[in-house]
Point group: C3
């Protein structure tokens, strides 16, 4: 139905693992390496060249790596020079510019726009339409929701570029602005439409413009159970490495 080998272009300089499927009208450009069992759906460009390509005849595409067991959905553009882990997935029309380092088991939602030159750990889930500016640092198990933007220029336009940092397990809700260089701790929850300009400590719920810490997330109750919902890994397992095991036992097993 979707893999008819119509107008697929694979550069002779690309390297495909075993059982890689490529959708119609997709181009895999120079020096792209794709891991085993990965599917690239239709109308994608993997290894999109840098601007220099259009001007310099001697241009060589930097290496791009996409891990194994990944699913890139249609109309996605991934620039050259990215290093992406295993079990990666994207929605549709995702754009990932150059020089990102993305861990394993990450999911990037439809229309999200990653501007490159940033780091992301493992098991990060970006929902639709998240904008990550350059020089951002995102930990592990960080979830980010639609229309949230990570900024990096404190007095635009300038040559300063200092992105936000977000710690492990933090949740950044919809339509949030993280101002340049702000540091968000671990297990933080940032409320919808907040503007975060000051650093936020671990385990804080911060809301508003300007965002202020208003309580410890561990005081927030679940609508399902009436009990404390945070730290969320105790109450959400789907797709997480502690699924079926529980968060404590998983932590224990890691520490062994």
């Amino acid at each position: 139905m979707k893999f008819n080998n119509h107008n697929v272009y694979v550069s002779p300089k690309a390297t495909l693992g075993k059982n890689v499927k490529i959708g119609d009208y997709t181009s895999i450009l120079d020096n792209v390496v794709i891991g085993d069992n990965t599917t690239i759906s239709n109308n994608c460009i993997i290894g999109e060249p840098l601007s220099d390509y259009y001007e310099n005849e001697e241009y060589t595409n930097p290496q791009t790596i996409i891990g194994s067991n990944s699913l890139i959905r249609s109309h996605t553009i991934i620039y050259c020079g990215n290093i992406i882990g295993n079990n990666f997935s994207t929605g549709h029309r995702v754009t990932i510019r150059e020089k990102m380092k993305i861990g394993n088991h990450c999911r990037i939602g439809t229309l999200s726009d990653l501007q490159g030159f940033s780091e992301m750990g493992d098991y990060c889930w970006l929902h639709s339409n998240v904008h990550i500016g350059q020089q951002s640092k995102i930990g592990n198990f960080v979830f980010i929701y639609p229309y949230t933007v990570f900024t990096n220029d404190p007095h635009p336009p300038s040559n300063v570029c200092i992105g936000p940092t977000v710690g492990d397990y933090s949740q950044i809700a919809v339509s949030v602005v993280l101002l340049p260089g702000v540091k968000i701790g671990k297990h933080v929850l940032i409320g919808a439409q907040s503007v975060v300009g000051k650093d936020i400590e671990d385990y804080q719920l911060a809301v508003g413009n300007p965002a202020k810490s208003i309580k410890d997330v561990r005081e927030l109750k679940s609508k399902e159970t009436g009990k404390s919902h945070y730290p969320w890994p105790y109450n959400f397992e789907r797709g997480m490495p502690w699924q079926g095991l529980g968060f404590d036992k998983w932590i224990e097993s890691k520490n062994k």
Copy 2:
């Protein structure tokens, strides 16, 4: 100019009505049914399969229905399992995930992202870049403006999914966040960049973060006429079923 029959793919399991036009590089996948006189422009995918397709060789695509006299603009992706009425139109690069029920005469703007599992009545107009989360319920004649997001998880991440409900004739302005499970009445106007966490009664203008009702919409004057602009159906007819007839007469004719 646009319909050159280049690289059009129509599944043998799809059913096309009379006078259906399909643009170049568009794929109509299994079990899609398209009504008479509908145009699907170029680079679209209609009947995009569920994730299960990539894993399960026995996968069958659920039926997808798009009504007659519709216009799907280029680069739009509509998943399988949607039931969409007649006189539907989209802008470019719209994404509609599975299991939406969309009425007649709806318009979905460029880049809008409908996450599926939701309902929308007749004559709803979504402007560009509207994000509708799962389990949303939208009445008839509801207009929604850019960068507005309907959320559904009260304490992310969790397994709770309760979308907002919006009543007939309501207008949700730009960059608004509707929080999970909120209920908005009929003929409501939500102001730009509001965050709506509490239910809003019929005919209220609500603004702010958190949004509060500040007056009855019927007190708002038109800049054109100086008279009351709301209920808007008395002052806006373009594309509406009461065009040329007037809202009162149309209501009367319906009640006969």
Copy 3:
């Protein structure tokens, strides 16, 4: 790598300058004129027809002009009836509807959505995901950041359409809403997530919802130098016509 002449469509009624490169799967439609040394990357549509095309067999595509030395990145859709200057560039998946007049040296970021019927001067840089409603007027050297929206209907829905006006050198930060008809002066800085409903004088920093002028931008210090950063042209030269010359000398040279 990217220009393989696969499935390129150029209308016999289009006019291409010298050394124009067209990417795979791109269509250049009727009455498009493209200047010398311009590159249109893959999967683009240039000269997208108006809605009337789908209904009227006698439809003729209005002329579309794209200047020389421009770079249109992939998946971009530019409607017919636009007049765009030289040294233009776009990111990916940009949509530009009809009847825009865009000056020289403008850059429109990935996913930006220009609704047409608007004007933009020279050296305007729109970052990713900017939404410009109809009847907007944007001066020269205006920079606009992600998820910002220019609105035009004061009491939606209505037949009134009055866009915002932004003066030369002004900077509109992320996630800002400009309300219908608002006038923003020159050298203004609008802070992140502001909602601007009242006119803003030259050289003001305005923030908040509703946005208020809080200080003169010339009081704002640079994080790099500790000195006043604004007017920014004294401290930012990259890509600007005063690069290597300095702003004062460039102004002088213009006034000769």
